[in-house]
Symmetry: D2
Subunit: 291 residues, 4 copies
């Protein structure tokens, strides 16, 4: 088993650099947004919606890895520009995928986090170069990658001296066909223990079904993982990719509230605390009455 | 996709029969105990320990499905007798595996729940007969069974008119070798939605490692599943089977407390409620101070 | 890795007992017949057809392991009687599945080889008893069983003193959905090396598609395995089970001829030898002409 | 299911261009050589050995995709130069891997066939560009890629107008740990049927064990596939990568002879034909004697 060994200073420094994204604050990081950037209106609407619901970063694909060459391949450089604009408009850092060494500079000029997709988890030429951009890198687990391979891939990035690596578990390929992939929480937990790197979970790709996103998100946070990446689209039925697994803004907001991650005004916070105190006092009174 | 169709009356009746075990009460069912019944002292110690920690049922294998014929095969009828005795001593219902049609009457005479193990999930001769004993049946998912096959296996049991079926997800076989199996929470959630049957999770067999049991248990309950089955042994290092994944009584008690499932005296409850109220009031005061 | 250790005497004795079925003769054993025995006419027609095409044993299921309780479950005892009758009529030994300890005596009274199906590969109660009938046992590999588990399951049978075990590889479950299962020739080859037991291949269940049966059969024999089990039905489209993967008698006869396994009259043999000699002499003449 | 549709003219033209490599001649293509180019002496020795044994092309990695950044990464441009030199010395066309868009021109300047490795099967940026070099491309199947994904990846290459694509099955990842991967002959056969492209098999990576290479090679050719790729190293124990699965020159020569693919002098051919004719005549005489 290969393990990334961080000495204490290095880990501390990693934490500091990733803290701007919300890692290490005790509150889950939530990266949300559409599968693909499709238009200015779409990404601005998505960004506003996820910000309002409590997301801490905006995602959106400009270069899209698609199984078939006949599928929508993303808006490319235009998509990057629109994404960066939506991030600026909402104050959210942006996360987007880089697919080739030739794209690194362009993507790094627009994004706050460079994503390496599952299909490129062992694109070693890309891994060797991506860290040099000096930005945090989110490394998605390959769909049939072992924990050891995943951490070794991360070492290709850290070998360049960039330790700002975030791991993302997004489901593995199994025999089960009722879900798109099988979310592997055990490996996410172990990868976090073994590497000391932050690990987030992408339930959208893991499940491929909107109805599993909320329970899997609750499970991932209960297991102690560092955050979530969720696909949210203003109009999932019209999406140019992944339209079965993207949440509506309403469904996302509802899930965030259920997870206790929705933003609150001071009055809302006060009202929530008052209600919780009243409920506990009622329990206490019942208990005293029984005694 | 094959789905068990329950009409409302039937589901209600199922719930009533399984309620004695704690299903449908809103509080998770926790079945705990050793992998195998090994001796009177061992099973009595295990039963007392899991009862004290808040378990709601006692498990222990008397007929053991072991990969090799040279491994410990269980105490058989003696094991059943010792298990029933430990259940009676602690007031816990007992759950144990039946491996063959010829064992059904014997096992049913001692157990409150008959377990069908993963390796027998498609032992159709056994499935056809096991329901006739009139006791609840816990059907573990086969290690490479699809959701559809799992629910179809349950239908073999319900076809006998016995609808008291509990499903148990215990991990599927994948390429990953760092864990014994891969816990598949998505399928557990979907099996529950599709069948209306209670679904519990066995993180001990899923992970095969003691250190993953607590986080996976938290995740399973956060995902809304109905309970847990956990292997607990008074002295795991000396266990005759599965000694890497059984928890000590201390570790189990600690996990149950962490899950909020440890039993409390009235004073403990009162103290906990008082502490919680004080903490919320402190938050409230800080908030008012900021305002 | 668990390995069956045969000393020389034992292996020799195994070979002697299995030789009546054709193992160890240097010529592949071919077990053919329908998935299920459906009627007297169907099994007699199938038996006659596979005999004429060169099969060395007749298969046919009487007790059928079916995923759903609503599928055809086999004719049971009547099916056994019809199968034995068809075997007697054609002089072919018969192979059929036993699913439960309670069926062993009945099945052994009618069959020459007792088959343990994939779903029961780890039905240890059945494995412990099946060998006592004193007949050869064909143990199919479980669809997610490792080589070690498969050989350990065989040891449950040999532990009863019956070493007449035939292993059958029938495909494993993988992520690929275009075929029903994935034929794993490597494991079949290794299981043969490690155990010294004969190993045959079932391409019908492995592929689940008629068009792959011939090339996979050629591959299995080229890899040095001991035989084949092929599903053949007089009218596959009307079969009560597995109707996509059963060959017609015509297709089976064509495949057997292609494999060089079709029976020949002395004139046919002589004509074939003459043709082969002429072809080689022509090659020889061309070569001399070039020189 | 996505399928590459070739019209007749296009397929014919493909065949013509690939015929120089031996595809479509009725005789299997055998690409052999070391995992990695390690030195001038090593690659020249390997090239001479595989040529003498009957190989039709030389392989050798210069850019190596290695799981860990601490493993040998290949000689890069120097390796390409040495490989081309060994190809020229023996008259064998050379096959080598390209890992990144930035390497395409360099690799194409030295190689006759550009290989896309398993880990890059869905490196879509690379697939889009690699065809433009105008050389045949060998596309290895990803270790968890479905047939549909494999053929769609091939379409990324053919979309550039380059139809000289060779598919290579190299084993898929399954639960079995006794072999490195599981060779999936069914999918190789189907991919060939569906695409019309030549398909070869790499038993070295599939099995990861020297002892399986010969039987799997025989199986692949018996199944009608177009060729083999075999790792051969002058001294496998000292190899810098994959040392357990590389054959010695002696073992490779022996396997080629066994497959009927070893080169023969005219005298050897004549002697072989004479021996075969004598054997058939002896059979004929025995048969006449019986009659």
């Amino acid at each position: 088993m290969v393990i990334i060994n961080h000495n204490t200073e290095r880990t501390a420094s990693v934490s500091e650099q990733l803290r701007a994204l919300g890692f290490g604050t005790g509150r889950p990081v939530v990266i949300a947004g559409p599968c693909s950037v499709e238009s200015e209106g779409q990404i601005l609407a998505a960004a506003a919606a996820v910000k309002a619901a409590g997301a801490t970063a905006l995602r959106g694909g400009a270069f899209k890895p698609r199984t078939s060459p006949r599928s929508f391949q993303g808006l490319g450089a235009d998509g990057l520009r629109l994404l960066a604009q939506a991030g600026a408009a909402t104050g959210l850092p942006v996360v987007t995928e880089v697919m080739d060494t030739a794209q690194i500079d362009l993507v790094a000029a627009h994004a706050d986090v460079l994503q390496i997709g599952s299909r490129n988890m062992q694109n070693f030429a890309l891994l060797k170069e991506v860290g040099r951009a000096g930005k945090p890198v989110m490394l998605k687990r390959g769909l049939a990658a072992t924990i050891a391979e995943w951490l070794s891939a991360a070492e290709y990035i850290t070998a360049s001296g960039n330790f700002q690596v975030i791991l993302c578990e997004r489901g593995i390929r199994t025999f089960e066909t009722y879900t798109r992939n099988t979310l592997d929480l055990s490996s996410a937990i172990l990868a976090r223990q073994l590497s000391g790197l932050p690990v987030i979970v992408d339930p959208s790709h893991a499940a491929g079904r909107g109805d599993l996103i909320a329970p899997l998100s609750r499970a991932a946070l209960a297991a102690g993982l560092d955050g979530l990446m969720i696909e949210v689209h203003p109009d999932p039925a019209q999406a140019l990719s992944d339209n079965e697994q993207q949440l509506t803004p309403t469904a996302f907001a509802s899930m965030m509230a259920d997870l206790g991650l929705a933003p609150e005004t001071e009055e809302q916070q006060m009202a929530r605390l008052d209600a919780a105190i009243r409920a506990l006092q009622a329990q206490r009174d019942r208990l005293r009455g029984q005694a």
